[in-house]
């Protein structure tokens, strides 16, 4: 978060003049639990990315076995992740119970 402003510097009525400025707002400190990715077990179905309310699942470009371009799960953006656990709940690998692709662990304060 940038330095906090005085009341004289603020636009009237709390209007936000910059589109997409919510990305600057740090919500990671709200977290008490955090998701940790285990990429060796991840099937890159992108369910976690789809369900994440904060857009905190970071993807990267890659190619599938046939060589076509596709997205892969890269990591969790802990600046925005509030630790809601939706990704843990929706992960199909976790649901099967044989392996853990996303693990929910107590966050260190």
């Amino acid at each position: 978060m940038s330095e906090l402003k005085n009341w004289q510097e603020l636009p009237y009525g709390g209007v936000i003049l910059e589109a997409g400025s919510a990305a600057k707002y740090e919500t990671g400190s709200w977290r008490t639990w955090k998701p940790v990715t285990h990429r060796e077990n991840c099937v890159h179905c992108l369910k976690c990315w789809e369900y994440c309310p904060e857009d905190a699942i970071v993807l990267e470009n890659g190619r599938d076995s046939a060589g076509a371009p596709r997205k892969f799960v890269k990591e969790v953006n802990y600046y925005h992740c509030k630790g809601c656990g939706l990704c843990i709940r929706e992960c199909p690998v976790n649901k099967e119970g044989k392996a853990v692709a996303l693990e929910f662990v107590r966050d260190e304060v």
Binding site: W7, L10, L17
Partner: protein, 404 residues
């Protein structure tokens, strides 16, 4: 904009509500969203006729409730329009949540409020419990003694509310039935002259400006909420200056002078009555009668209740020996809201510290006659002679079972 007639001002017989509808026609707002309620109905009724007749360019939104009316006003204002509405009593009470939203979003929504009692038991007649309850909502409140003042205040309203140092919603108050439904003669200014005085509306971060997208009404927590509130308070403080500037310009243009309050025969008055709206007219009548008999009595009539001009009022009351405040609303378990403001002004800004006497009157349209006012003045004289208000403090006027 529709073409308007250029001509001279006219003296017309009109009701207070009709006068406000005429002001709205001349202002030609972009959007009006309203739900008619007694006694403000005629404003909305007349205005919808202007819309149907093509006399205005206004988008008239017939909403299903006052909650929706104020919501539509806020949305239209954030979209960059000049927006007006009218309501009374329970209608404004139903807008409650949105009154605060309009003020905190700094949307200069303009309201013609016809003061009426709040329900319990149900009553449609005049008192000020609606606007007094809303005094902390962040709206500028201008009070009007008669049709002419209600009209003039509404003509001045846009320029005050939309001033870049203010940017706050504004309500013009007049007494239900007593003013809103009584036909009096008043000067209706020329359409073109009013439109020129009001001037065009400048949108402020319009949500329809897609080249510059903005967010209105976002969540505001511990880190910024109080800074936004402080800015809002500054708008209200600036309004004291802006109301006077716009009023001075109004006087230059139309010839009628207004201050933040009116002092009537105040210079040498021992006894000063303080009142709002229509009661001031009767009080002036009695003051003239009693002055003729040698009683030094005067009136201070509040025009701007929010913002409240403490220093100016304290100074104006510094020559008085007793100040008797007539509240047309009750704050149960406390003195009336006008009395507490006057007390604050006098305590801080009147070095002589006059006696202060609180009276409540006129709830639910109960009459305040000339004889009652005479009686209040003679009771004030008794307090003055005794040097204390004693058990007269807080008496209600013209209530069966009580003495006053």
């Amino acid at each position: 904009m529709k073409t308007v007639t250029a001509g001279k001002p006219k003296i017309v017989p009109i009701t207070g509500a009709g006068a406000c509808a005429q002001a709205m026609r001349q202002i030609n707002p972009d959007v009006v969203a309203a739900f008619p309620i007694t006694p403000s109905t005629q404003i909305v009724e007349d205005f919808s006729a202007f819309v149907a007749n093509g006399q205005v360019d206004t988008e008239f939104v017939t909403v299903e409730s006052e909650h929706s009316a104020m919501s539509a006003c806020i949305g239209a204002s954030a979209a960059g329009g000049r927006v007006m509405t009218a309501t009374s009593s329970a209608g404004m009470a139903y807008m409650w949540e949105l009154l605060y939203v309009a003020a905190s979003m700094r949307q200069p929504v303009l309201m013609s409020l016809v003061n009426r009692a709040l329900t319990g038991p149900i009553n449609i007649h005049c008192d000020h419990s609606d606007s007094m309850g809303a005094r902390d909502a962040g709206w500028i409140q201008l009070y009007s003694e008669n049709n002419q003042e209600a009209y003039d205040n509404l003509v001045m309203a846009a320029r005050i509310a939309e001033h870049p140092d203010v940017r706050l919603p504004l309500m013009v108050c007049q007494d239900g039935f007593i003013t809103s439904h009584s036909i009096q003669t008043m000067q209706l200014e020329d359409d073109k002259a009013v439109r020129a005085f009001v001037g065009p509306h400048k949108p402020h971060h319009s949500i329809l400006d897609t080249d510059h997208p903005v967010t209105w009404g976002a969540l505001d927590l511990q880190d910024y909420y109080i800074e936004h509130k402080r800015g809002q308070e500054q708008g209200m403080r600036n309004a004291l200056r802006v109301i006077q500037e716009v009023s001075d310009d109004f006087a230059k243009t139309f010839g009628r002078h207004y201050g933040l309050f009116e002092d009537y025969r105040l210079e040498d008055a021992d006894i000063v009555l303080v009142a709002l709206n229509s009661a001031a007219g009767e009080i002036k009548e009695v003051i003239d009668e009693m002055r003729a008999k040698g009683e030094k009595v005067g009136l201070l009539k509040i025009r701007s209740f929010r913002p409240f001009p403490y220093a100016e009022i304290g100074k104006a009351l510094s020559g008085a020996s007793i100040v008797t405040v007539l509240d047309r609303s009750a704050s149960f378990g406390a003195h009336g809201p006008l009395f507490t403001e006057i007390t604050t002004a006098v305590y801080n800004y009147s070095p002589n510290r006059p006696l202060l006497l609180a009276h409540t009157f006129g709830l639910g349209g109960r009459e305040l006659t000339l004889r009652h006012i005479e009686h209040i003045i003679s009771e004030s004289r008794i307090c003055l002679d005794k040097g204390e208000v004693g058990n007269r403090q807080g008496l209600w006027v013209n209530v069966r079972g009580d003495k006053l």
